[in-house]
């Protein structure tokens, strides 16, 4: 359990984390999403006490991290940057960490096996590939058999097999009843493992939601329907929760709030010929992009005009989203 309360971190003029409030619950995988520079890493560093909050607080299992008798047993963290001495072997690194808590050698060997590092445990960690380095970081995070596992961008630099391994590891850890908190700037990655999502942009909380809710709030499923008589179809489909858009003169309508099957039945009942009936799902990626577009620090642009138009629509959606998540 991680509870942040009005958590704020300022570096001079720049506010990296801005009054964050969130709770990460046990037994689930919570994704921590946001574009680069959104304050994810800073937040995680504050959780384990590496950075002190400018104001506000963050508690782990009811206390500040440093107040625990065995911090590594409360939170096991993999931070974004490498946190090892390149001259020390993987085994010696883990053993040194274990010594501080009185964790036995057998547990060190266990996490080495769990992360598949047996063959390289005796080698200098500086010679490790990115993927091996990540595995070593995860081994260190699991060392204390922690109630909360917190991983900052764990799939960075991993090959597909490694990515799959992380996914299974995370869901496995949550099934064991642990709190799993994992950050990423890639929605697609997190959506596969996370139940709950905390989305930040420019240090602010943009959404504290579930994967299903995010999709639903982003517009849910849209059905594209082309018919002989769009005007009549409009009146036939009209209803309380149904939203229909379409250009005049076009035979296409975009319908939200009704499944394709029902649209087809209704059209048939009224004898309206349909030329096309297709469901288009708003992808999580799109929902996430809409939500964070306004808070992306560095925009790349392919063509000037395209970016501008995308930005305007994005801004509108973001505005709508923020009000909804605030409500």
């Amino acid at each position: 359990m991680i509870e942040a309360h009005q958590l704020t971190k300022r570096y001079g003029e720049k506010t990296a984390v801005d009054r964050l409030d969130f709770t990460v619950k046990p037994g689930t995988v919570t994704g921590f999403l946001g574009p680069n520079g959104a304050g994810k890493s800073t937040t995680m560093r504050m959780i384990v006490g590496l950075d002190a909050p400018t104001s506000g607080s963050v508690r782990v299992n009811g206390r500040s991290y440093a107040a625990h008798a065995a911090p590594l047993q409360e939170v096991g963290a993999l931070l974004e940057a490498r946190s090892i001495h390149p001259g020390r072997s993987a085994f010696n690194h883990l053993m040194a960490q274990a010594h501080t808590h009185g964790i036995p050698r057998s547990r060190v060997e266990e996490v080495i096996e769990l992360t598949g590092l047996q063959s390289v445990a005796g080698k200098r960690a500086g010679a490790f590939s990115l993927g091996m380095g990540q595995r070593l970081g995860i081994a260190a995070a699991l060392l204390g058999d922690p109630a909360t596992v917190m991983l900052d961008e764990p799939v960075n630099g991993l090959d597909p097999e490694g990515v799959l391994w992380i996914r299974n590891l995370l869901t496995g850890l949550a099934e064991e009843g642990r709190t799993v908190f994992v950050s990423s700037h890639l929605m697609s990655e997190v959506a596969l493992v996370a139940d709950h999502l905390i989305i930040v942009g420019r240090g602010r909380l943009l959404a504290d939601t579930t994967v299903q809710d995010l999709v639903r709030e982003a517009g849910g499923d849209v059905v594209k329907v082309a018919s002989a008589d769009p005007a009549r179809l409009r009146t036939v489909l009209a209803g309380a929760d149904v939203e229909i858009t379409g250009r005049s003169g076009s035979e296409e309508l975009l319908v939200t709030g009704l499944p394709a099957r029902e649209i087809g039945i209704k059209a048939a009942e009224h004898g309206i010929a349909l030329y096309e009936l297709a469901t288009r799902t708003v992808s999580l990626e799109e929902a996430f992009m809409d939500l964070t577009r306004d808070s992306v620090e560095y925009h790349g642009s392919t063509t000037g005009t395209a970016t501008t138009s995308a930005k305007t629509t994005g801004a509108e959606t973001t505005g709508a989203e923020t009000t909804r998540s605030a409500a």
Binding site: G49, A69, P71, I84, M95, T100, G102
Partner: protein, 283 residues
């Protein structure tokens, strides 16, 4: 440690996980961890080896030089004019203090330059035990090594120059005190290195300040008007430290005890600065 009976599971409704063994961070364990960390790096072995080599080898070289000049009857330069077996055997301290001080800086600042400090402080978030443990582990190691080094150098040198006017034995007044003082001085230089490394968080910065305060500042102070000099000079780290292991003391130097007190003062000051920075600043 296992005071909690295995049957006692904490009544937590949200977490179904069985409670694992109860780990706990203690001062002794942090010491153990720092000990393990220090010896698991190759640079430790190399630098300590160099420190010991400097102490013994330079002591031997100085003694052989002295002996050959005596026997050949060549004129003595100032360094050798009033040499004793003791001063010859301590010839290497100047070089050894560099090796031991630099390793002290590496032990602390090396964690910052590599990112290891994040792991270290995640395991010991109260932080200060890390500083005390590093200083203790490294200080005691340096003390043992330096003390062995100077005694070995003296044993050899007193044999080499036994037939000359520089001859001395351990039973001569002040010899054991000087040798122990030299060992302690080198250990404290190492501790100051650790403190500077923790304070400046940079290997280059730590080494620069260490070398400057031990070797450059005395030279700068000698440029001051002599009336000021006599007030400042004896209290400089290098001069106060030197007072701990020189045999003869005059009006311009501190007594061995006072030298030790002043040098300890510098050490405590450096450690205090490191402690404040460690606790106050984000890692």
């Amino acid at each position: 440690m296992s005071t909690i009976a295995p049957t006692q599971t904490p009544a937590s409704p949200t977490v179904q996980r069985p409670a694992g063994p109860a780990y706990r961070v203690t001062a002794a364990r942090v010491l153990r961890a720092e000990w393990a960390k220090m010896w698991s790096l190759r640079s430790t072995w190399i630098t300590l080896g160099l420190g010991l080599l400097f102490l013994v080898a330079f002591g031997l070289i100085a003694a052989f030089q002295f002996k050959s000049r005596i026997t050949s009857g060549r004129p003595m330069d100032r360094d050798f004019a009033d040499a004793t077996a003791l001063s010859l055997s301590l010839f290497g301290t100047n070089f050894a203090q560099l090796a031991l001080g630099v390793l002290g800086v590496l032990v602390a600042a090396g964690e910052y330059s590599t990112g290891m400090i994040r792991s270290t402080l995640a395991a010991v978030p109260r932080r200060l035990p890390v500083l005390w443990s590093k200083a203790t582990v490294y200080g005691l190691t340096a003390l043992l090594l330096a003390t062995v080094g100077v005694f070995v150098a003296f044993a050899a040198d007193s044999q080499i120059v036994s037939s000359t006017r520089a001859a001395m034995t351990l039973s001569d007044a002040g010899v054991v005190r000087s040798l122990l003082g030299a060992g302690l001085y080198l250990a404290l230089v190492g501790v100051i290195g650790v403190a500077l490394g923790m304070l400046l968080r940079s290997v280059a910065g730590g080494i620069s300040v260490l070398v400057a305060s031990l070797m450059l500042v005395p030279g700068l102070v000698s440029l001051l008007p002599s009336s000021w000099q006599s007030h400042i000079s004896p209290y400089l780290p290098s001069h106060a430290g030197e007072a701990m292991f020189t045999l003869h003391h005059d009006a311009t130097t501190l007594s061995p005890g006072a030298g030790l007190a002043v040098f300890l003062g510098w050490t405590v000051l450096a450690l205090a600065g490191a402690a404040v920075r460690l606790v106050r600043t984000d890692a």
